[in-house]
Amino acid sequence: MSADLEQFYEVFFEESSELLAEMEACLLGLDVNSPSTEDLNAIFRAAHSIKGGAGTFGFTDMTEMTHMLETLLDRLRKGELKVRSEMVDAFLRAGDVIKDQLAGHRGDGAADPIVVGEVSNELQRFSEESADVTAVDHVSNASQAVCIDELRQSAGIVAIERPAATENLQHAVYQIEFSTIGLSDESKENLFFNLKQQGSVEAHPQSVDNEVCRMYLTTSVPEEDIWETLAFAVNPAHLKIEKCTEVGGYQAGTFAVATTEAVNDSVPHIEAKPSSSAETDSAPYGFFSGAPAAPQEFVQQTQSESDQSSNAADQINSVASSNLNAKAVASVETNSIRVSIGKVDQMINLVGELVITQAMLAQTASEIDPVISEKLQSGMSHLERNTRDLQEAVMSIRMLPMSFVFSRYPRVVRDLAAKLNKKVELKTVGEGTELDKGLIEKIADPLTHLVRNSLDHGIELPEKRIAAGKLAKGTITLRAFQQGGSIVIEVGDDGAGLNREKILAKARERGLQVRDDMPDQEVWMLIFEAGFSTADKVTDVSGRGVGMDVVKRNIQSMGGRVEVNSVYGVGTRITIRLPLTLAILDGLSVTVGDQMFIVPLTYITESLQPSENDIRTISGRGRVVQVRGEYLPVIALYEAFNIRPKSTEIKDGILVILDADGHKAAMLVDELVGQHQVVIKSLESNYRRVHGVSGATIMGDGKVALILDTTGLVMSTQ
């Protein structure tokens, strides 16, 4: 799975860089004296999106940083705290740290752990500013721990970057250290029980005092899992897990931590574990010892502070540089380039022009005597084939299978389910459905939000599910399929369903206009209001009420729609409808008078020449036509578009039977011309929206033809 995810790293890096840039721009433009909520929301959303992405890829250091950012921003947004210029400074620095962390994951430099610690301290201080004064002592403890934690993680980047390594089913020894403040005896026992299930637990030789508990755990379970087991019971800020025996970043990590902990801990750390040193000594030593190593300054610092033997320092050095080498290798391998959609569109336009030119040349060439122009003719047919191939190839750049997006989610679901202590199975259906690349990129974020929401709010805890007579394991279904001219993506869960009363109550609390007799559909749509959340408490998963409004906004910006279906106690299904592609459409060209129109093929059920007997009028004006026992309203295109047709009589024309979302109508045209694949062009980019027209295209002769807005036309008759 980790290999699958790696192909999306680049996209995530790019996206995050963009989001960071956006966040910085917002921050810089923020008026400290009267900050606009819109700006704060924008910054918040950027942080939230980065957090979501980082969570998907397991970049915990970034998740933690952005979470802290978010906590503070959330309070600012709600007006609980006043924005001050120091905060903006802190935000900017936090942005820089995230940038560094991002660069670290990219394999190019690393975040300075000292700065990380400082910034997270600062953020923590701001967000806890108005908190209880008695908590001050606790706070400083916590932030120190966080700082150390950050250090550990940034030094341990390499191990995170190569999830494959941690997923090895080798036994490893971890040193676990956590604060027992605030833990009841019962929960301690529980914790030990859980740990023992994962492997064998040994007490740390120089450990136990009253507040800090240290131990060794030998296990085959990856570190994340241990982390999750413990984080469930212990405040993660007071929790440290270090891997002792495996060669790699964690050794270096131990040292980095040791530096900040300064005098007391670092020496025993190394000396207490001679066995691990012996193990790590062999392979990397000597291979890389000459290579330059970025973490060297730490190492040297450690060295001077703890007065280590040169042998040990060398060993660390070699470990560190082997990490660096691994990074360098990783960063070289990128086999895709990110090209702006604008460039691809330009290519599509140019190829379209080329096809038209080619058709024109072929027309001219065919008029020349074939005896003279034999070579020309064969050249022309080559040209034709090549231009078609080229056109197809260019078009296919934009189309990608849904699996590109769907493959992100197993990891998200697995991690989140473990974190929330829920049992969830993810089913994906229709990964092969192809979607325009522009849409694929934009749909990923909203889908992540929806999946996380389903998991957090939808699926209940196993006990609850069993009590409700369901299977303990919940199911989240991601489904993609094509329906008519749209792609439908569904996120469904068999969880608790939406609670109508709760949503209405919350809406009233927020001063939204609601009535008790609102239809369910409208009630469900309330969840897309900005800042709307029915979650009782804020977690780092969801509940802040950000997200759903972003989801809706993103989908609307893609020209799509969102629908919610939910039955209380049974489950929720969120349906996203997107246009198939922004680029191409299968259409039937029809003429009315001297004008040509394109009717999207997906809406056409049949076309027929009506007989006079089938045509009826209603109160002398509205005309209906009987088709197989159904009376369909007639839309005369010449009326709708004020064109002089060849004939106004229905019997002289052709009726195209349209079916738009279950509503049927018969459209009267003069003639059917042919079926085409047309490139959709926007009318609105240079003009405005025209009623009854959804876009335009360029025909083979270079003329513009309008594409009919079938749904709009059909609906106007209902």
Partner: protein, 174 residues
Amino acid sequence: MSQQQSAAMTSAVNPASEAAPRQLNEFLTFRLGNEEYGIDILKVQEIRGYDNEAITQIANSPDFIKGVVNLRGIIVPIIDMRIKFRLGNAEYDQFTVVIILNVGGRVMGIVVDGVSDVISLDMEHVRPTPEFGSIIDTKYITGLGTIDERMLILVDIERLMASEDMGLVNQVLN
């Protein structure tokens, strides 16, 4: 394609050549009926011949909007300024040209009775507009310039095209 063939007058227009010490602005001048107008040359993308065949009409649009054309793959609306401002007869002859404008990122074409010249005007010699005198609302006129005894009406084409009067832009955003 026929459109491009007939676009004999297509010409690339250079942006203002060099920064003059005084404020010298360059204007493209064109005729509408008997009046002569000038627009900022930097707003002009190109000039094409008028080709009625290439225009696709748009239903239920005001009469001054002739329709849309395909300009190398983008759909561009064509506005007949003579009909819009009721200046002279909207006749289409060999002098009738379409000025393709690029204003605020939008591309559009205006039909005029012929382009005359590109002139440089010292902004000091531009006089303010009297409160009457033109069919164009004076708020779209930056001033009146003089060249060789002729009067030139300088139009703020960007504002004019974005205005509600033209109906080119969706006024109610949804």
